[in-house]
C-alpha cells in the first residue's frame, strides 16, 4: 500500500486556486454593495413602479339634518365586491358559497366573469354595497382575484316621511333628487387616494401611504322640523287615503323667516329601498306640479279691489240671484247669497261676488297683484324641479277671462307659491324668499301689499274658519285661524271636467299674529266629499293642533268661562 509515494500538488497551483476562491467573493461583495447601496434609488423606483398602485379612498358624504340636528340622511359604510376576471379562480365549492353569500346564481357569476375575461377587462363588480360583515365572509372564502372596496351607502332614517325633500343618491353616491341633488356639491366629499403595495396578482398587500386624504362632505342643516314633517306626513296620507285621492301635497312655512318647516307629498316612496321606484312617486309635487288655484286667490282679488279705491270694507255687492251670465257662460254660487260685503264674499267664497269685483277693476292690476305676491316666479327655495307656474295677461281682456281670473282660473301656481302668497298676508304684506336651509334670525322681505290691507283681509279670512264660513273644519281649538278653501275643477281632455277636482286649503295661525302658514292641495278626491273645506281643511286643523303645541305657541283664543270665574273670584 505504501510503495508509491504521492507527490502533492505544488503550493503555486493551490495558491492560484485559493486566490480565485477569495477574489470571486470579493468581487461579488463589491457588486452587492453596488446594488444594495449605490443603485438602490433606481432599483427601488423600478420596484415601486411595478408594485405600488394608487387606489381611491371613498369620502364620507355630509349628513343632512333637520333644524334640531335630527338626521334625515346619513352615510354608513358598505363594501362592494369586485373581481379581477384574469386572476379569478374559484373551486366549485367556493363558487357555490360565494353565490349563496351574494344571493346570486353560481352560473350567473361564472358567466359574468367569463365574459369580462374575454373582453380583457380587469375589473367587474359582482355585488355592490353589501353589509361589511357579509363582505368579510366573502373575503374569508379566499378566492383569488376577489376584492372588496369600501364605499358609503346613504341611509334615510325618516324613510318615506321626508323622502321628497331630502331626495336620494344613486349607487355612486351622487345626488339624484331633492336636497341630495340640489346640494350635491356641498354634501359630497372629495375622494382621496391611497398608495398601496400590490403583489403581482394584483392583490393589495399593504397600505403604503395616503397620497390624498379624503375630504368628507359638509353637513347640511335644513329648515325642516322633523316632528312637523312627520305630523304633516301622517295627516296628509290619512286624508289622501280617506278621500281616495290621486295625490296630495302640503307645506308649512315659518312666517318670520320664510323657512320651509315641512313639505310632504303623496304618493311617496321609501328612499332606502328603491327597487320598485316609479317616477310618479318621487316627484316633489309641492314644487313641480301646478294647478289653477281657484277660490284661494279670492283674498288677492279683494286686495286689488281695496287698492283700486273703488271698494271699501263697507261696500255692498249684490250677488242675487246667485248666478250671473257673462258672455255665453254662467257663473254660479252654491246658493243665492244676496247682498254681500267684501268680507262675506271671502267667507262664503262667492264666485259671483268676486266676478263683480273683477269686472269693476282693471284686470291688469289684478295680474299685477298676482305678480307681486310671487305667482309666476321662483320661490328661491332652491329645490330642484321647481316650476314657476304661469300668469295669463291678454292684450284685450274678455269679460269671462276677467271674471274667472277673480276666482282663480286662467293662472297656475304650485302649492309652494300658494303658501308663499299667504305668507305675504301673514307678514303684513312682506314677500319673503323661501328657504329650505336653516335661517338664523328674522328674514326681511319686500313689501308688496300694504299692512293695513293685509290686516283687513286676515280679518275676513278668520270668518272663513269661523261659524258660517266654508273652512270651519280648519279650526284649531284655542287659536284664531285665518284661511281660505278652494275647490277647483281640473282641466280634462274636454275642458273642465265635472268629476275631477283639486281641493285646497291655505291658512295661517294664530290669525292676529301669524307664526305658521300651511297650504294643502289634494288632487282628485273620489270619495263622498270634494270641497276644499271638507277634504283639505281638516288636515290643516289636525296638523296645526300638534304643531302649535310642539312649537310652544301660546293660544290667542282662550275659552271665556275660566276668565269669568277669575273675575268673580276677584270681585269677592
Amino acid at each position: 500500500m505504501t510503495e508509491q509515494v504521492h507527490k502533492p500538488s505544488s503550493r503555486f497551483r493551490i495558491g492560484i486556486v485559493l486566490v480565485l476562491v477569495l477574489t470571486v467573493p470579493l468581487a461579488l461583495i463589491v457588486r452587492a454593495f453596488d446594488l444594495h447601496v449605490t443603485n438602490k434609488t433606481f432599483l427601488q423606483e423600478q420596484g415601486d413602479a411595478r408594485a405600488l398602485r394608487s387606489i381611491p379612498v371613498a369620502a364620507h358624504r355630509g349628513m343632512i339634518v333637520d333644524r334640531h340636528g335630527e338626521p334625515l340622511a346619513v352615510s354608513t359604510p358598505v363594501d362592494s365586491i369586485w373581481a379581477q376576471p384574469q386572476q379569478y379562480k374559484a373551486t366549485t365549492r367556493q363558487l357555490y358559497n360565494l353565490a349563496k353569500l351574494l344571493d346570486l346564481k353560481p352560473q350567473q357569476i361564472k358567466k359574468l366573469i367569463a365574459s369580462k375575461k374575454q373582453e380583457g377587462k380587469e375589473f367587474v363588480y359582482l355585488k355592490r354595497r353589501i353589509n361589511p360583515s357579509l363582505a368579510q365572509k366573502v373575503i374569508e372564502l379566499e378566492i383569488p382575484g376577489l376584492s372588496i372596496q369600501r364605499e358609503y351607502r346613504r341611509y334615510y332614517p325618516t324613510g318615506e316621511v321626508a323622502a321628497h325633500v331630502v331626495g336620494f343618491t344613486n349607487v355612486d353616491d351622487v345626488g339624484q333628487e331633492g336636497i341630495e341633488l340640489a346640494y350635491d356639491q356641498w354634501l359630497k366629499g372629495t375622494d382621496g387616494s391611497q398608495l398601496v403595495m400590490k403583489d403581482r396578482l394584483g392583490r393589495v398587500v399593504k397600505p403604503v401611504d395616503l397620497i390624498k386624504s379624503p375630504h368628507a362632505g359638509k353637513d347640511l342643516v335644513l329648515s325642516i322640523d322633523r316632528r312637523l314633517q312627520y305630523l304633516t306626513y301622517r295627516e296628509l296620507k290619512r286624508a289622501v287615503f280617506e278621500h281616495k285621492a290621486k295625490s296630495g301635497s302640503a307645506v308649512i312655512l315659518d312666517v318670520k323667516t320664510g323657512e320651509i318647516l315641512a313639505m310632504v307629498n303623496q304618493p311617496a316612496f321609501n328612499p332606502n329601498n328603491r327597487a320598485d321606484l316609479q317616477s310618479y312617486r318621487y316627484r316633489n309635487r309641492v314644487v313641480t306640479d301646478t294647478f289653477e288655484p281657484g277660490s284661494t286667490v279670492k283674498p288677492f282679488t279683494v286686495a286689488a279691489a281695496l287698492e283700486s279705491g273703488k271698494f271699501k270694507l263697507s261696500t255692498v255687492i249684490d250677488t242675487s240671484p246667485g248666478y250671473m251670465r257673462v258672455g255665453k257662460s254662467v257663473i254660479r254660487d252654491i246658493k243665492n247669497y244676496g247682498r254681500m260685503t267684501l268680507a262675506s264674499v271671502i267667507e262664503k267664497s262667492s264666485n259671483v261676488g268676486a266676478s263683480k269685483i273683477a269686472l269693476t277693476i282693471d284686470p291688469n292690476n289684478l295680474v299685477k297683484v298676482h305678480q307681486r305676491i310671487g305667482f309666476g316666479d321662483v320661490t328661491q327655495s332652491g329645490l330642484p324641479g321647481e316650476v314657476m307656474g304661469s300668469l295669463h295677461q291678454p292684450r284685450i281682456w274678455r269679460d269671462i277671462e276677467r271674471a274667472t281670473l277673480s276666482y282663480g282660473y286662467g293662472l297656475s301656481v304650485t302649492t309652494l307659491q300658494l303658501a308663499r302668497s299667504y305668507l305675504v298676508l301673514a307678514s303684513d304684506g312682506m314677500l319673503k324668499p323661501l328657504s329650505i336651509e336653516l335661517q338664523t334670525g328674522h328674514v326681511e322681505g319686500e313689501s308688496v301689499i300694504s299692512a293695513k290691507h293685509t290686516k283687513q283681509i286676515r280679518e275676513m279670512l278668520k270668518g272663513v274658519v269661523a261659524q258660517g264660513g266654508t273652512g270651519t273644519k280648519a279650526a284649531v281649538p284655542g287659536f284664531h285661524v285665518a284661511g281660505k278653501t278652494g275647490t277647483v275643477k281640473k282641466v280634462g281632455k274636454h275642458g273642465y271636467s265635472d268629476d275631477k277636482y283639486v281641493s285646497t286649503f291655505v291658512g295661517m295661525v294664530p290669525a292676529d299674529n301669524p307664526r305658521l302658514v300651511m297650504a294643502i292641495t289634494i288632487h282628485e278626491p273620489r270619495g263622498e266629499h270634494y270641497y276644499g273645506g271638507a277634504v283639505a281643511a281638516p288636515v290643516f286643523s289636525s296638523v296645526m293642533v300638534g304643531a302649535l303645541r310642539l312649537l310652544d305657541i301660546s293660544p290667542d283664543k282662550l275659552p271665556k268661562k275660566p276668565a269669568t270665574f277669575a273675575m268673580l273670584g276677584g270681585a269677592q
Partner: protein
C-alpha cells in the same frame, strides 16, 4: 466491484473502532459552517415560499416542510455514508460513471423523465423528482479523483493522460446539454479543469484546455436561441424588463430594496410572485431583500470560509499521502464554491441565468441530499487524515 462493497460492509459492522470517534474528532469549523448555511437556507426557503405555496398548494409551509424532510433524509444518508472508507469510493469510481450515464439516459425515457420549465432534468420517483445532474457532478468528481490517482504520472507528463478523462467528460456534458442543463455542464467541466490543474497538468496543455473549453462554451451559447436569449437578457436586463430581462430585473430590485440591513425577515415584496422561482434559483435575491447587504456578505463569507476549509482538508489529506481523498476534497470544494458563486452572480446579474441551485440553501431535494453526501465524504476524509495523524504521532512516540 460488489465484492469490495460487501467485504467493506462486513468490515464496517464488525470493527467497532470505526464506529467510534468519527464525529468527535471532526472539523467543527466545517460542520458549523454547513449547519449555519442549512439553517439559514431553511429559514429563507420558508420565508420565500409562503405566498407561492399558499397559492399553488393552499398550505403556506408546504415547501418548508418538504425541505426539512429532504434535509432530514440528507443528514440520515450522511450519517450512514460517513462510515464508508474513501478506499471504497475510489474503487467504485468507474461504476459511478456508468450509473451517471445510465441516469442521464433514463431522463429521456418518456414517462420516467419529468419536464419542468422546458428542461428534462428529473426522474420521477414516486411524488419526488430526482435531479440526476446533482448526483452526476459528485460521481464525476469521485471518478476523476480516482483517475488522477491511477494515472498521475501520465497526467503530469503526457497529453494522452490528460485528454482521456476529458473524452468521457464530454459524453456526460453532451447528455447534460441535451436536457438541457447548461449550468451543471459548466460547473462540471470547470471543476474537472480545476482538479486537473491541482493534479499537476502541464501548463501548456492546460492553456490549450482552457481556450478550447471557453471556445466550446461560447459556441454552445451562440448555437442556442434559448441560451442566447438568456445571455442578452443578462447583458442589459433593463432593455426589455418585461420579457427576457424580467426575472433578472426583479432580482436586482430585490437587492435595491434590501439596502444595508434588509426589509426584515418575511417582509420581501419581490417574493410575492414578482420574482419567479423565489425559493429555488433566486432564493439569494429574497435573502438580499430581507437581510440586506449585511446578510449577503454573511452568506458570501460563509461560503468562502467553507471552500477554504474544504481545500484545507484536501491539502492535509494530500500531505498524508492520501491523494484520492485530497482530490475528492478539492473537487467538492471547487464544486460548492463554483456553484454558490455562480448562483449568487446570477442573482446579482453578473452572470447569465443558469438554473443552478444555491448549495445547502435553495429548495430542492436532490441538491440537499447530494450536498449532505458531499459533506459526509469530507468528514470521512478529515477523519481518515486525523487517524493517519494519530498513527504517525503514536509511531513517533514509539520511535522516541
Amino acid at each position: 466491484m460488489s465484492e469490495t462493497l460487501t467485504s467493506y460492509m462486513h468490515a464496517a459492522f464488525n470493527q467497532k473502532i470505526q464506529k467510534q470517534k468519527i464525529i468527535w474528532t471532526s472539523d467543527y469549523w466545517l460542520l458549523g459552517t454547513v449547519l449555519a448555511l442549512l439553517i439559514l437556507g431553511l429559514i429563507m426557503v420558508g420565508s420565500a415560499s409562503v405566498s407561492i405555496a399558499e397559492k399553488n398548494i393552499g398550505e403556506p409551509f408546504y415547501y418548508l416542510w418538504r425541505q426539512m424532510m429532504f434535509a432530514g433524509i440528507g443528514l440520515f444518508a450522511a450519517f450512514i455514508l460517513v462510515k464508508v472508507p474513501m478506499r471504497v469510493w475510489q474503487d467504485l469510481g468507474p461504476a459511478l460513471v456508468i450509473v451517471s450515464l445510465l441516469g442521464l439516459l433514463l431522463v429521456f425515457i418518456p414517462g420516467l423523465g419529468k419536464n419542468v420549465n422546458g428542461s428534462t432534468r428529473w426522474i420521477a420517483v414516486g411524488s419526488f423528482g430526482l435531479q440526476v445532474s446533482e448526483f452526476v457532478k459528485l460521481f464525476m468528481i469521485l471518478y476523476l479523483a480516482g483517475y488522477l490517482v491511477r494515472h498521475i504520472d501520465a497526467v503530469r507528463t503526457t497529453a494522452a493522460g490528460f485528454w482521456r478523462p476529458l473524452g468521457l467528460l464530454m459524453i456526460v456534458m453532451v447528455l447534460l446539454l441535451l436536457e438541457p442543463d447548461f449550468g451543471a455542464a459548466a460547473v462540471l467541466i470547470s471543476t474537472a479543469v480545476a482538479m486537473m490543474w491541482l493534479g499537476g497538468v502541464r501548463v501548456g496543455q492546460f492553456m490549450i484546455l482552457i481556450t478550447s473549453v471557453s471556445g466550446a462554451l461560447a459556441l454552445l451559447v451562440y448555437t442556442s436561441t434559448y441560451r442566447m436569449q438568456r445571455l442578452t437578457g443578462f447583458m442589459d436586463p433593463w432593455d426589455d424588463p418585461f420579457n427576457s430581462g424580467f426575472q433578472l430585473t426583479q432580482a436586482l430590485i430585490a437587492f435595491g430594496r434590501g439596502e444595508w440591513f434588509g426589509v426584515g425577515l418575511g417582509a420581501s415584496v419581490q417574493k410575492l410572485f414578482y420574482l419567479p422561482e423565489a425559493h429555488t434559483d433566486f432564493l439569494f435575491a429574497v435573502l438580499a431583500e430581507e437581510l440586506g447587504l449585511f446578510g449577503v456578505i454573511a452568506v458570501i463569507g460563509l461560503f468562502s470560509f467553507l471552500v477554504f476549509r474544504i481545500l484545507l482538508i484536501g491539502r492535509r489529506a494530500e500531505n498524508r499521502e492520501r491523494p484520492f481523498a485530497g482530490y475528492v476534497a478539492y473537487g467538492i470544494g471547487i464544486w460548492i464554491g463554483l456553484q454558490a458563486f455562480i448562483n449568487i452572480g446570477v442573482n446579482m446579474g453578473v452572470l447569465p441565468t443558469k438554473g443552478l441551485t444555491l448549495p445547502f440553501m435553495s429548495y430542492g431535494g436532490s441538491s440537499i441530499l447530494v450536498m449532505c453526501i458531499a459533506v459526509a465524504l469530507l468528514v470521512r476524509i478529515d477523519y481518515e487524515t486525523r487517524k493517519e495523524d494519530r498513527i504517525i504521532q503514536k509511531g513517533r512516540k514509539v520511535y522516541e
